[in-house]
Amino acid sequence: MVKLAENKHYSENKPIEKAPLSAKVYLPLIQHLGKVCNPEVKIGDIVTLGQKIASIEAHVYAPIHASISGKVTAIGDWPHPVLGRAKAIVIEGDSRDEISVFALKNQQEVEKLAADDIRKIVLDAGIVGMGGASFPTHIKLNPPKAVDTLIINGAECEPYLTADARLMIEKTAEIFQGIMLVSKCLGVKEVYIGIEDNKPEAIKAFKIFSQIKVKILKSDYPQGGEKQLIQNILGKQIPRGKLPFDLGVVVYNVATVYAIYEAIYKSKPLIERLVTVTGSCVKNPRNLLVRLGTPIKDLLEFCGPLKEEPAKIIIGGPMMGIAQYTDEVPIIKSSGGLLLMNKEEAKILEENSCIRCAACVRECPVGLMPCQINLASERSFWNLTREYGASDCIECGICNYVCPSNRRLLQTIKRAKLESAK
């Protein structure tokens, strides 16, 4: 693990704010791991806030909801932050923002809900893992084996990002109620929350709950990786090729738990999420509550004017985020950050020969030898990449980060992962 320059100072003390509504939202039909949804609306249809507009008959999927009320003006290809381009439903807003359509439930009503009711609500709300993986949450609420430990991921180890930290500070009670719902649904005995030591306020906030054990983690990267989190909290490793379930463990991100809270208590589907808009070019870095489908140019305008023209726009953090080719791209369920880099920061470094310094070997959090996989991958020796365990890579990017020769280790390892799987 590596200590990174955190750069969280830009936005860590900025309270959560609501981003203004966009004139149009672009909601991709795929914002999750699994099957692409089919549109359930036609061009010209009037949709209300929170209305289900796309779904599919499948096991692994999450439905999509209208994040503003208005009229469907188009259904077609549009820039997508992860896939480059994907089909999206476009809604032109009517600026009537009737969030009150959601019915509130009181504590007694919630307590009456059975585990299956909770799963059903979570599925209908379209909730996915919001730490970045976007795995549909209802599936994780129904583990194939009995689990006894719930880990809440509040590590937020990516530099720059502060959305989870703000959420933990400002929505502590809501997150706590969400955690209680999840632990009821799963029937777990123990609940941990892992928070990095650079978020003392969040740590303090959660220490008051007797039901939750707060684990203070060193602020190292990738502390928030599922494998690292389990190892550092429980002191055991997920056996190779197995899932956390097999250890009786389930891991949820704080933002996901918050979304579950909102779905259950407020009958609110996943129509917005917290996004950190940050970077040296941003004059007013913020933690914004953003409607899904909002084009990032609208967010930049809101946080602007920019101090300088960004040379690179990243959705996500600097280690695992994805560089975007246009500012028309919308925020989707997995977009936790919007990071702008200036020309200097975005400079592409020249790649040199590997000098076998072994920095990548020392720092790889899963014990791989990235430089060796890189050489084998460049020569298409897929048997060798398999032997070196390329498929165990968690794509954290540390190898590239420490490589003095600026080799594209992660990219070639990703390639090897694909080829090894064949």
Binding site: V2, A74, W78, Q237, P239, A311, T326, I355, C371, S405
Partner: protein, 507 residues
């Protein structure tokens, strides 16, 4: 009876021949006919939508749904579809052009078999021209032909019905709204088109090969200073000549192999310095030149340059010189004495004295530590070397594994075997003399030719220590550090293969 069979046979033969001929003609002309049909369509399409430059069929034949018409700027301008309905005596097929607003651009009856003189008049321009600019869903101003009402009505009905169908298809076709959306994307003025797109991660720890290499150069400077203090300016000249020769060789090799010239990364400088540090201070200056050329050209560039060499280049140069000019390589000057100035008195190294079986009485450990004895330029002053090593260890450019295991193994082995009896060896003397410290910290740690994992590095260090001690105790040479490192360099791929790190989640 016989006759019947004969004629039957002949008849049959003729039948077979005829059938064969027919089949042959069909086969020969089928492609041509199909081609003709294909050719027919575009011209017909063009006729009813002359402003279009390109037609793209939507749906697969035989279930071709309609055509999209694009103008020369690739803009969608309309649709063409085929409508058909039973008329008076046949099925009438009409090709219809419809623009984006849903009005008809033109129609053409392409297939019918109506009553000549009556129903057939639907093909006349007088009838078809009426459709132009009509709303495809109402056709309110189209008049049926007198005496051919059924045929006319069939055409009109088929057009309206099909237009309705096509409109629905188009509205639900994401491709069309995609066209609209993409043009919206093109028009959008705020779109940033010059964004840098690259794979994650997007930050770097700012470490670079040249930074590491120049830090190593820096860490070698104390030893050079010590060399000059101990042996005089000769030590400096040898070092400079070796370094310049190494850099020049690197440059020339880069030009010759048409590869990127990498002299600025500092790696050739290190090779030159390390080679000089392994030479006696009083060698003629052509010797470091030859050694440096050999180090870089044969020890490094021949394998492909930086990162590819399997042996430490400086040591390759050194053993080459040792084998070729052993006399120069084993004649050492005495250190300068205070007030005595430079003289050309020669003296053997402590290890050589030991090898000859003489007893070292006048050299204290302290002298060994400070380097007040004969030896190679860069190896004698342990103090200076340790200062440099500390820099590299603190910066994290080298790890402790190789130096520690190397030195401890040499010490342990010499303690056991180098004495007059077992466990009486002078291990401290062996650590402080010869090139052990220089080798252990600066040459055995050369990234390129050493193992990657900590485990592998420990094995490598132990191997170096063993070979060094064995050569020193029982070998023909007084010193064995160079050979030990080179031998272990050769085993590096093998060590790497069997000392992989434990992968997360495995036992």
């Amino acid at each position: 009876m016989k006759e019947i069979i004969r004629y039957g046979f002949i008849l049959g033969l003729i039948c077979v021949l005829a059938a064969g001929l027919l089949a042959g003609v069909n086969a020969l002309t089928r492609a041509k006919i199909a081609e003709q049909k294909q050719a027919e369509e575009p011209s017909a399409l063009k006729e009813i939508m002359p402003q279009a430059a390109k037609f793209i069929p939507i749906g697969q034949a035989p279930e071709l749904l309609y055509y999209k018409a694009f103008d020369s700027q690739e803009q969608l301008i309309g649709f063409v579809f085929k409508a058909s309905e039973k008329g008076y005596s046949s099925v009438i097929q009409t090709l219809v052009g419809m623009n984006l607003q849903g009005t008809i651009s033109a129609i053409k009856v392409i297939s019918q078999n109506e009553t000549p003189g009556l129903g057939m008049r639907i093909t006349e321009n007088k009838f078809t021209d009426q459709f132009k600019n009509q709303d495809s869903l109402s056709l309110s101003d189209v008049q049926a032909i007198t005496g051919a009402t059924i045929s006319s009505q069939a055409v009109m009905n088929s057009v309206i019905k099909k237009a309705q169908e096509i409109k629905e298809l188009i509205e639900n076709d994401p491709f069309d709204s995609a066209q609209v959306m993409l043009s919206e994307l093109k028009e959008s003025r705020s779109m940033k088109s010059n964004l840098i797109v690259s794979g994650s991660p997007h930050i770097h720890n700012k470490e670079s090969v040249s930074r590491i290499m120049w830090t190593v150069v820096l860490s070698l400077i104390p030893a050079a200073v010590a060399g000059v203090i101990i042996f005089g300016w000769d030590a400096l000249w040898v070092t400079l000549v070796a370094t310049v020769a190494a850099v020049l060789t690197e440059w020339i090799c880069g030009l010759l192999t048409k590869k990127k010239v990498t002299i600025s990364d500092g790696s050739a400088v290190i090779t030159g310095i390390l080679l000089a540090y392994n030479l006696p201070p009083n060698v003629p200056l052509w010797l470091p030149v030859i050694g440096a050329v050999f180090s870089i050209a044969i020890g490094k560039q021949i394998f492909g340059g930086l990162g590819q060499n399997i042996f430490n280049p400086a040591l390759v140069g050194r053993v080459f010189l040792m084998a070729s000019w052993p006399k120069y390589m084993t004649t050492f000057t005495q250190p300068l004495r205070a007030g005595a100035g430079y003289d050309a008195l020669t003296s053997a190294t402590p290890l050589a004295i030991l090898k000859e079986g003489k007893i070292l009485e006048h050299i204290s450990y302290w002298d060994l530590f400070l380097g007040k004895h004969g030896g190679c330029i860069g190896e004698v002053c342990i103090l200076a070397l340790l200062i440099g090593a500390a820099i590299l260890l603190i910066k994290g450019y080298i790890s402790w594994h190789i130096p520690a295991s190397f030195i401890l193994t040499t010490a342990g082995f010499t303690y056991i075997f180098a004495g007059v009896q077992l466990f009486h060896g002078d291990w401290l003397f062996h650590i402080l003399s010869g090139g052990l410290i220089l080798g252990a910290f600066f040459m055995a740690t050369d990234y390129v030719a050493t193992p990657l994992t900590a485990k592998g590095q420990l094995i490598f260090g132990v191997g170096c220590g063993l070979f060094t001690a064995i050569i020193r105790i029982w070998g023909g040479y007084p010193e064995g550090v160079s050979y030990a490192i080179l031998m272990m360099n050769a085993t590096t791929p093998f060590i790497d293969r069997y000392t992989k790190n434990k992968i997360y989640g495995t036992k």
